[in-house]
């Protein structure tokens, strides 16, 4: 029996894999066999790990020859396994952390609101279940589709993808409209079914708390609201270095009412968690890189940048020259840097493109209504939205802003709002936001310039200080803001990060031990091959002499030496060039030999496999027969 069962498994797997290879109808069988192979391989891995520990620990305990190497192996194995399994130093996955939100536990069955729309859950054949993201919340009752909770965007898209019919998609759209938090709390309140958590964005006020508590008498609901309110009142404070000149207490409150900046005490404080948008707005308090004009006048002299007539470019160049000498390649590097700066025309073009009207997409309910009215050719695309263009006063506001001494994105949006009569159009806001995501700050631009100039020649201490001082201040400020963001955040899923995330212990082992060690092992080959070639590669007989000649040709052909040595040969003798001979050896002699070996291996494999499948060869079971 001990041998019969493995023999039967071998026979069955062999027949399945053979059938799967030759018959397309049995492909799935082969895949199932492969999956089982993986499962068994993972068990074998566990056994292998245990065996490795057993063998090497025994060697260490009995102090056999080479026991120190065994100790290193055991330590390396255990440490790598441990840091990988416990995810030491791994930050939580950013997309799961819901930055800016506080969580409070609220079991799904205690969630007090259910929403229903008329409709039927689609009938699915086979084993296709409802999407996992909504399975616990969605049910059918009395001709209604009932949903407990507030439908999240990912749940909506999962439901839309669940069944392609217009009727179902219309039900989902109606449900998505109905199953939402009450109006004043839309975008602030959410319910996540998987961790069973009620979430609130930002810091909850006492009035908001009272309004939310009044929504339901449920004790669990009220206790969750209290927990969210308390989480939103938690104060976090950091001491900041010299703050950017633009930031004032009023400006900080404009970013978020929960933010409090004290210039005298150099403290930045926040109530509740900080969102990514708030962090980004705080970090953006440094002026943007200045633009260049579109058409640069011609150069003034060979060792001076052509952009010099522009006042800011001139001032920058002059400031650098006052602090030390600059050579001609550095002048060229300065010009290249200047040429890459953004222009007002690029911004205007980006705005123009953002204003182009796009076709609207019809909802499923709209298309269903068309169908019910008898339409036969239903198009999912609706009429195109009208184009929006930049008005002359808005363009003038942009040009005036670009000429101001310090450029901030918020200032531009304020000027555009004034030029637009109070409210900046959405397309303008989007275009400005997207455009300046790509534009560095002036401090970053000067740091880039510093690197470019250092590549082209030396810089004095004063020049480096001039180019890097702003960046240093910006870096210190952003570090302080990052620290406030980190302290204000409460980790929700501490083990959600990837085991090999940058900066983690596993990453360090990989980057600074595994990589250099394996590369070193491979590189050592060069030394041993050289030594072996000197001592053992002898033309002792004809076969060895042929091998030696072939090796010379291939060694030369794999470098530029081949071209240098025989490149002078005329075309009619071109086949004698070393690189051509190398190709000939590889494609003719090598290929013929390799094919012969491969055919032999294939025949041998087929014969051995058949013997194993049919039970004629049982050596793998430990039998000699």
């Amino acid at each position: 029996m001990k041998r019969t069962i493995p023999l039967a498994i071998t026979f069955l797997c062999g027949v399945v894999l053979l059938a799967a290879h030759f018959s397309p109808y049995t492909h799935r069988w082969g895949e199932a066999a492969m999956i089982w192979f993986d499962i068994l391989a993972s068990i074998a891995f566990l056994l292998g790990g245990g065996n490795l520990l057993k063998v090497h620990l025994k060697k260490v305990v009995t102090q056999q020859a080479g026991w120190a190497y065994s100790l290193i192996t055991v330590v390396a194995f255990v440490v790598t396994l441990w840091v990988g399994l416990v995810k030491w130093g791994v930050p939580p996955a950013a997309h799961l952390e819901h930055y800016g939100e506080s969580f409070a536990h609220l079991p799904l069955e205690e969630f007090p609101f259910t929403y229903s729309v008329p409709g039927q859950l689609p009938e699915k054949t086979g084993r296709v279940l409802l999407p996992a993201s909504v399975r616990a919340q969605l049910r059918q009752a009395d001709g209604q589709v009932v949903f407990r909770g507030w439908l999240l965007p990912n749940q909506k898209s999962d439901l839309l993808a669940y069944h392609p019919t217009l009727a179902w998609r219309c039900v989902v759209e109606q449900l998505a409209q109905a199953a939402q938090p009450p109006e004043p709390f839309r975008g602030k309140l959410a319910y996540y079914p998987e961790p069973q958590a009620l979430a609130f964005r930002g810091s909850m006020t006492a009035q908001q708390r009272a309004e939310l508590e009044a929504l339901s008498p449920s004790a669990a609901w009220r206790s969750a609201i209290v927990a969210l309110y308390e989480a939103g009142q938690r104060q976090t404070e950091v001491v900041v270095p010299s703050a950017p000149e633009r930031l004032t207490p009023e400006e900080a409150r404009k970013i978020s009412p929960a933010l409090d900046y004290d210039p005298a005490g150099r403290t930045l404080r926040i109530r509740g968690p900080m969102s990514l948008a708030e962090r980004e707005a705080l970090e953006r308090q440094f002026p943007l890189a200045r633009p260049k004009k579109v058409a640069d006048p011609g150069g003034t002299s060979s060792d001076q940048p052509r952009g010099l007539p522009e006042p800011y470019c001139q001032a920058l160049w002059k400031a650098l020259q006052e602090r030390g000498p600059l050579n001609a390649p550095q002048a060229e590097a300065f010009q290249t840097h200047w040429d890459r700066r953004w222009t007002v025309e690029q911004l205007l073009e980006a705005i123009r493109l953002a204003g182009l009207g796009e076709p609207t997409e019809k909802t499923a309910c709209q298309m269903l209504a068309e169908l019910q009215q008898g339409a036969s050719d239903i198009q999912p695309i609706g009429p195109r939205r009208p184009d929006q263009t930049l008005r002359p006063e808005q363009e003038a506001a942009i040009r005036a802003w670009a000429a101001s001494p310090r450029l901030y994105r918020e200032d531009l949006l304020d000027r555009l709002a004034q030029a637009s009569g109070g409210q900046t159009p959405a397309f303008l806001q989007t275009a400005v936001h997207n455009f300046f995501q790509q534009v560095p700050t002036e401090a970053e631009a000067k740091k880039t310039l510093c690197v470019a100039l250092l590549r082209a020649g030396p810089l004095t201490e004063a020049q480096r200080e001039f180019l890097l001082a702003d960046y240093r201040a910006q870096w210190a400020w952003r570090t302080a803001v990052g620290e406030l963001f980190r302290q204000a955040h409460r980790v929700k899923f501490p083990w959600s990060g990837q085991y090999n995330a940058g900066g983690s212990a596993f990453w360090w082992i990989y980057e600074y031990m595994f990589k250099p060690l394996t590369a070193t092992m491979f590189a050592l080959l060069a030394f041993y091959v050289a030594s072996a070639a000197f001592r053992a590669f002898r033309a002792k007989n004809l076969e060895a002499a042929l091998l030696l000649g072939t090796a010379f040709i291939v060694l030369l052909g794999r470098t530029a030496a081949g071209t240098l040595v025989t490149g002078w040969l005329p075309d009619w003798l071109g086949w004698l060039r070393v690189e051509e001979l190398t190709v000939l050896i590889m494609t003719v002699f090598n290929t013929a030999g390799t094919r012969a070996i491969m055919i032999g291996i294939a025949l041998g494999t087929a014969a051995t496999s058949l013997k194993i499948i049919l039970g004629m060869d049982r050596s793998y079971l430990g039998s000699d027969k």
Binding site: M34, A41, H95, R535, E579
Partner: protein, 288 residues
């Protein structure tokens, strides 16, 4: 003298090899490269695809082969970025995932910041199973890769739209250092679907001779060792010269390594010749 050479301490050989490799590196010695037909075919396999083609890049290697395969992996990716192809990365080797992360962080994000993760490229990461992974991907890759390496549902990744099997890709590129690697791709993918799976590879010097029998039917192109990578870089630089003022060094990783390779090969030939001279001279001296 003869005796001394015959009993030459191997540490002198090691020292000579060290100098042969170190000197060209320190002196930044460059040698010209003339691309061969096979490398041109490999280059054309990517270059002739229309813009936006979908390419599967399988990173089947580990850091021990970085010296040979790193430059060609970078050259392939740079070429794909330049041609605006959509890239899907996978790894058949466990540490291949870290190598993909390196490629994305140090090359794509640094040199092509306008390319967006998920829209222009995606990292599906490592899956165990060796050739089993290839087999499953041939019929339904979504069965195996339900998420990308970051945990995002594959259905929500725009670049994966319409990609259900390996046959849906316009080209498969395997950078391969051994098993599982290009041989398995040939045996299970291009041999099984000869007209539907197009395959090119970059491989180590020791693997290259074993792959020649597959060219050009099952394997449409191959870069063999650092020499192949250097020729590829040469072609890339000829067709897509970097903008003036930009550092060309990053495009010449393999070309820079050809100087040390030439010096090392010449030393090897010299050592073999010297060894044989000593051998034959020793035979003549020996009393019959």
């Amino acid at each position: 003298m003869f005796q001394k050479l015959q009993q030459l301490d191997r540490r002198w050989v090691f020292l000579m090899m060290l100098l042969a490799v170190a000197w060209p590196m320190l002196a930044d010695w460059r040698v010209p490269e003339k691309p061969t037909l096979l490398v041109r075919q490999t280059f054309d396999a990517i270059d002739r695809l229309p813009e936006g083609s979908r390419i599967l890049l399988s990173w089947d290697w580990d850091p021990s082969a970085e010296g040979e395969l790193g430059p060609m992996a970078n050259a392939f990716v740079r070429h794909c970025c330049q041609k605006k192809h959509k890239m899907v990365f996978i790894a058949l080797w466990p540490v291949g995932q870290q190598l993909i992360d390196d490629t994305i962080e140090k090359l794509i994000q640094a040199e092509y910041p306008h390319l967006v993760y998920g829209r222009d490229y995606v990292n599906l990461g490592f899956k165990p199973g060796n050739e089993g992974v290839i087999k499953v991907m041939l019929t339904d890759l979504r069965q195996l890769y339900t998420t990308d390496a970051r945990g995002t549902n594959i259905e929500k990744i725009p670049v994966m739209r319409g990609l259900n099997t390996v046959r849906d890709f316009d080209l498969v590129v395997s950078v391969s250092a051994g098993y599982p690697g290009i041989k398995e791709w040939v045996q299970y993918a291009s041999a099984a679907y000869p007209n539907q799976v197009r395959l090119i590879t970059g491989t180590t010097g020791v693997s290259a001779p074993l792959l020649y029998p597959y060219i050009p039917d099952q394997l449409q192109g191959m870069l063999g060792a650092i020499k192949g990578a250097a020729e590829y870089e040469q072609l890339f630089l000829e067709k897509y010269p970097p903008p003036p003022g930009e550092d060309r060094g990053k495009y010449q990783e393999a070309l820079r390594r050809m100087g040390p390779q030439l010096a090392a090969h010449l030393l090897m030939i010299g050592l073999i010749l010297l060894g044989n001279i000593l051998y034959f001279a020793g035979r003549q001296r020996r009393p019959s």
